[in-house]
Amino acid sequence: MKRTTSRATVALVTLGLLATTRDIVLETAAADADYHHVHITSFAPPVSVRWYTEHLDCQPIADRDDAADCQGVEVTFVPQPTSGGTQGTGVNHIGFSYADLTAKMAELEAVGSRGSGVRLQRFEDGSTLREAPGLFKYGFIFDPWGTRIELVEDSEYLGFHHIHLSSTDPEATLAWYQDVFGGETASMRGRLEGLLYGDIWLLASQHLEGVPAPTEGRAIDHLGFVVDNLDNAANDMRRTGVEFQQEPRVPENARTSSKRAFIYGPDNVRLAVVEPGFAGVETDRGTETATDTGPYDSPQTPWGEPDIQGIWTGNAAHGIPLERPLDLVDVENLTADQAAARREGGTLGSIWGYEREWRDTTLGYDKNAPSTQVAMIIDPPDGRLPEMTATGKRTAEAAARARALYTENRSAGPEDLTPYVRCITRGLPGMMMPSIYNNGLQITQGPGFVAIQKEMIHETRVIPTEERTPLGDKLKMYLGDPQGHWEGNSLVVETKNFNGKTNYRGSGADMTLTERFTRTAENRLEYQFTVNDQTIWTQPWTGVFTFNLDNDQYDLVEYACHEGNYGMFNILSGARALDKERAEGPR
């Protein structure tokens, strides 16, 4: 069976008590892999998964309650309002093929339409099956959400079989699809012309009454095509006069990191064009606002503490400024495009950033949509750091003078460089902040301890969750002396005894840092941090951002920072060369 090599996705979408919409995605010839997927609307995705599993021999997919694998084609069900079945639109039905259709239809007839059962379409003579001369047996059923499904007995192509368009001009319609998306012209057993995308047929028949109704909002909301590079494909489409309903972008709160655009094809058929975000991997991203789904019931470790273990990344949060930009005073959230541009500027825009493909694939950057959060600081409410004390201002000026030694290449020795440049530490809360790369954060728990390992520089904090005697005043460290405890599902960590050799926006040795780690969803860890340093600021301040879980793909690499710190040799030898030049004057 050819289908075994194909990877296709069929997604069924649902919302409330409304019916089923789906979109079907085929790959383009340009992409030349056989990748397809279909989205279908359903009021309860798990019910739809069960239905397609029980009646169309699809398989459940591990860890997914919203998708089924239909003989190599992935069918995903997504909540979305629908306003009717497929008939009357430009996508009349989809087809499944069985080796013994008579047996299959008998099985479905036995199920009947009890509950959310199977609705059969009977021909005038009351039968459910017919023979198409020279082709094969066929019949029709409906799923409970209004999707018309043709069942055929085509031994050549078993499983998910075809998509059947209904068109005012079938020949022109197929030509349009081939022009825009490629696909191979083929003839089904010499009887029926169509296009083959991998091993799924795209067929078109004459629409009988007037003009097809728009697919949007119906059981099959749209068909989707996968391309390698959406921006290039979109440019090509614009040249051929294709109308865009939605420009290419990564949708906010989308389930996957895929970039997508919506266009209109012939006969009011809505089409999605999708660029797989991360090597075709689809990953749940959760919602942008953690609180919109109500409190999350955190899993527990076997020894009974809230479980926040896993590999998390700050990739989505990278680019969020600490302070609210003054031109965004009244903005609640950035648009997805603004957020994407902001993060892009913070990574690829930096000379330090890694090359795009490596960033997006190895680091899985694209798996997490950039956060639309405007700024980290939530207190003070204006999103700005509070006023500094007189001491704070003097310290900040001294720090600025010290920085100038570095930026002007005048460093007399390592001490004139920051602890980050020296690969000592980014300090706290600096080490928790999202960075341009190596954003992994691995949390491991044992009874009474939480180990938080940050990939950048490689630093591990071991936080006790049971009370212990704090360190004395003489024992101060870069990352201080932490004491944690659980408050409900939140890990609260209070840290003191900083040595003051690092600073975060001015913070010093007198800082008390209070952090709250709260798992707000399976894949989201909210991180809230309060800096209280009364020597430096007139009041405490609090920031927040979210880490995303990436257990499946991300592994922390060893960031052997100091061991490979050629930058130190280069910076200091450069400074010495400049010393010489300054002393001798330019040649």
Binding site: T301, P302, W303, Q309, G310, A412, G413, P414, R422, C423, I424, T425, Q442, T444, Q445, G446, P447, G448, F449, A451, Q453, I457, H458, E459, T460, V462, R468, T469, L475, M477, Y478, L479, D555, L556, V557, E558, A560, H562, E563, M568, F569, L572, S573, A575, R576, D579
Partner: protein, 271 residues
């Protein structure tokens, strides 16, 4: 009957009771060791070796150190931890080891505050903490921010993503022994201050066996065909740090290595 004998008999009677109790509950358990939620030995805690393995894995007499440090810098004598006595170097590799020793003041990765690698991290004279989770085991060492993740949750050990100082470790339980397969090393780490070393072909199989509440017998079998003629093994106990406030303190040693590494690049050179 003397009091002493009476005490011995009493102890023996107690022992019989204890044995009969444990025999009915856990036949396989020969030693009483702390156990975690799933019945495996509980290695959580702060541990440290005692000995001179960090000076030299092999038998070694005392020796002189940096002259400025007087007796403080001297090498203390020590008995080796290598099974069979000697490390089975290939002839050309033994020469490298001797060169390493001759240049140890500047070339030993420990002097440079580089991560110590495996197994050296275990027997450096600093405590380390084991955090035994239900998915992974994290070991946080007291030197150079070195740490290891022992992946207990990978059915098929994956090839190391990149060569690294601490390698990639996969663990499994063999009865009451935690067995760790570590590989994917960068090949620049040494085993001790005597210049014993391995290449990037190094593979270490470690065995951690609790022998009671407060000691782990640690064994490491070292395989590296490019440097050694055969695999060889070291073993030593790891002792639990019993102080109530025992912990692994942050020791970010980078700044203490900077004169060694960059002193010649200071405006006022120190080297």
């Amino acid at each position: 009957m003397t009091n002493q004998l009476r005490e011995v008999l009493k102890a023996a009677a107690l022992l019989v009771v204890v044995l009969s109790l444990t025999a009915t509950t856990a036949l396989a358990q020969t030693t009483e060791v702390p156990r975690d939620w799933d019945g495996n030995p509980d290695l959580n805690g702060v541990w440290q070796t005692i000995g001179t393995a960090h000076w030299d894995l092999e038998d070694h007499p005392s020796g002189s150190g940096h002259p400025d440090l007087g007796a403080i810098g001297a090498i203390p004598p020590g008995q080796g931890v290598v099974e069979g006595g000697d490390i089975p170097y290939r002839p050309e590799a033994r020469q490298q080891k001797q060169d390493n020793f001759a240049n140890r003041m500047t070339n030993d990765p420990e002097a440079k505050c580089f991560m110590p690698g495996v197994p050296r991290a275990t027997y450096l004279p600093y405590p380390f903490q084991i955090i035994q989770g239900n998915q992974k085991i994290q070991i946080v060492y007291g030197f150079a921010e070195a740490n290891r993740t022992i992946h207990m949750d990978k059915d098929n050990p994956e090839p190391p993503p990149i060569d690294s100082w601490m390698g990639r470790s996969h663990g499994r339980w063999d009865g009451d022994t935690l067995v760790v397969d570590a590989q994917g090393f960068i090949g620049e780490a040494w085993f001790d201050r005597a210049g014993n070393y391995a290449s990037a072909a190094l593979r270490v199989e470690e065995r951690y066996t609790l022998t009671g509440r407060n000691a782990i017998m640690y064994e490491a079998t070292i395989t590296d065909d490019t440097v050694f003629t055969r695999p060889w093994k070291i073993s030593m106990p790891l002792y639990r740090r019993l102080e109530e406030n025992a912990r692994v303190l942050e020791f970010k040693c980078v700044e203490y290595s900077e004169d060694l590494l960059y002193g010649h690049l200071r405006r006022e050179p120190t080297r």
